[in-house]
């Protein structure tokens, strides 16, 4: 039963995601990629449990590497996305439509 609910969650989230992301302008496609990259760091949620459950050395080492990789994406991903978005600026004083 929970399996089916999970499928529901997945399908609905993918659908909402698709609807939202369709409206992202090509201008911001690179920040979109780095943003989803940062969000994919959510694997941390799984990695932390593996690293902290004390299920033997192998599991802990795999968990450590997973936490490191996921945290790298979280920190690096959000920082670079912000750095990029900071660069996108409006035309200063002059209005865009001149002619």
């Amino acid at each position: 039963m929970t399996d089916i609910i999970q499928v529901y969650v997945f399908v609905l989230a993918a659908f909402v995601g698709y609807q939202v992301i369709t409206r992202v302008p090509p201008l911001l496609h690179t920040p979109l990629m780095s943003a989803t990259n940062a969000i994919s760091g959510i694997s941390l949620v799984g990695s932390l449990v593996v690293a902290g459950s004390d299920h033997g050395f192998l599991a802990s080492v795999l968990g450590l590497i997973a936490v490191t990789c996921a945290m790298t994406n979280v920190v690096g991903g959000f920082l670079i996305t912000d750095r990029m978005l900071k660069m996108f600026k409006h035309q200063p004083e002059r209005p865009a439509e001149k002619n």
């Binding site: 090509p26 201008l27 990629m33 943003a35 694997s43 750095r83 409006h90």
Partner: protein, 462 residues
């Protein structure tokens, strides 16, 4: 029980904040604030997880979090914008590695503890390590090709597609076998190894110009691996975030392949550009008009309406700041400058936009293909900076050309065209470009950055 409820609520809040963050990217002005919300969501999810009952020791966790922050900070703050495509490919590798290692640890731990692995859980674990592992090596190959320590040319050999098909079939076969008999560890690790191989062989035949599609596709796979992790450990925030990433990557790859007028299958198995056959028109007997820096500067200085057409060559030469400088000089003389952005110009979705934004070009002047194309005929000059295939008229009028049917920027319809190009070597796809031989086209040979610097110096003297 209360603890579990609180944790679930932090996950719910995180999921909502992620969606709000992605939605904010529809408006450049709101995007930064939205991404801060998404980051807050991530913080909530992490804190929520840290107080979970299953977590009994924190030493490994703390080391991992510190290491990740130490590696992540420079990757976020100091990587130059020109290195963005390889930076993105690199981080897909990290995300996928995390997912596949979690999957492997989950599997081995379950076996060690003698837990029964249901077929539903095995399916999830299988997809998790499959998507994870092939994304790790696939992203590494993409990273290598973009950073140019692996050849950017497609690598092909006889029977390649057949060999890949067999590899793929065996891997899926192993997955099906494992779902029936989850206890067979050998089968599991052979499957993981094969998935790593698939990643390598999948990206090997793909050329540099097709990288925007590949990066998007790997983006999607990394998301699906995260979603599969969520299924395996029964965690909704993972499923939701993974689905969002998967959908985003999938959508981007569709947009990119549409912009190249090619199907997924064609990109993955077509090995575009491997053979430089003269399918299109030959350039024999045609002459190019070369233009001096002085003449080009003069024409730009007195142009009323200029459209800049940047391509991958601008990124390679890192000439975006010089482009901006020339544009400013034209504007100072009363001319109007806009930038025509082809969706697949460069090596990743949005590549040109980021580079020009870095050079302080206001985003209002970065115009997409559909909007700018009708305006080329009224442009006095189209200045093509290191773009080739995206302005090749053969895509419109030569059914024999490999890029026939691809939507292009109509730079050839401008009153006059100045092309900045290193030499007459054909572009990445190895196709002759008849734009260069048109009577209204002038070629300015040399490195784009040097040419633009000289143009700017000349224009200041006028």
């Amino acid at each position: 029980m209360t603890r579990d409820l609180v944790i679930e609520l932090t996950y719910l809040a995180a999921s909502i904040l992620f969606m709000l963050g992605l939605r904010s990217l529809t408006k450049p002005d709101r995007a930064r604030r939205g991404m801060n919300q998404a980051a807050l969501g991530m913080l909530l999810a992490i804190v929520g997880t840290l107080v979970k009952e299953e977590i009994v020791r924190y030493d490994w966790i703390i080391v991992g979090l510190i290491l990740g922050s130490i590696i992540g900070y420079p990757l976020g703050m100091f990587v130059p914008m020109t290195a963005m495509p390889q930076r993105i490919a690199f981080s897909h590798m990290f995300g996928a590695l995390a997912a596949s290692f979690v999957g492997i640890a989950e599997y081995t731990t379950a076996l060690r503890l003698g837990e029964e692995i249901t077929s539903a859980r095995m399916t999830a674990l299988g997809f998790e390590v499959l998507f994870g592992s092939l994304t790790v090596t696939g992203s590494f190959m993409a990273f290598g090709k973009l950073a140019e320590f692996i050849t950017g040319r497609p690598v092909t050999y006889r029977g390649q597609n057949a060999a890949n098909a067999v590899l793929f079939a065996v891997t899926i076969g192993l997955l099906i076998y494992l779902i029936a008999r989850p206890v067979n560890q050998t089968a599991f690790f052979v499957m993981v190894a094969l998935a790593f191989l698939i990643g390598v062989f999948l990206v090997l035949p793909i050329g540099g110009a097709d990288m925007p599609v590949v990066i998007s596709l790997l983006n999607s796979y990394a998301g699906l691996a995260a979603a599969a992790t969520g299924f395996a450990i029964g965690n909704n925030v993972l499923i939701i975030a993974g689905a969002l990433d998967g959908a985003s990557g999938f959508l981007l790859s569709i947009i990119m392949s549409k912009a190249m007028n090619r199907s997924f299958g064609n990109i993955l198995f077509g090995a575009f550009g491997s053979k430089i056959t003269a399918t299109g028109k030959s350039a024999e007997g045609l002459v190019v008009n070369e233009v001096s820096v002085e003449d080009a500067a003069l024409r730009l200085a007195y142009a009323r309406n200029v459209v800049m057409v940047p391509g991958y060559g601008m990124a390679v030469a890192q000439a975006q700041h010089q482009v901006r400088e020339v544009a400013e000089l034209i504007e100072k003389n009363g001319g109007e400058v806009r930038y025509a952005i082809h969706p697949v110009a460069g090596r990743m979705p949005g590549h040109m936009n980021v580079l020009l934004a870095e050079a302080n070009v206001p985003y209002d002047n970065l115009i997409g293909m559909e909007e700018i194309n009708p305006q080329f005929p009224v442009a006095d000059v189209a200045l093509v900076i290191g773009a080739n295939d995206v302005v090749n008229p053969a895509a419109r009028n030569d059914p024999l050309s490999p890029i026939y049917g691809m939507p292009i920027l109509d730079a050839d319809k401008a009153q006059s065209v100045i092309v900045l190009k290193r030499s007459m070597n054909p572009g990445f796809a190895g196709i002759e470009n008849e734009l260069f031989y048109r009577p209204n086209t002038s070629m300015l040979f040399g490195d784009a950055k040097t040419s633009l610097t000289r143009l700017a110096a000349e224009m200041k003297n006028l």
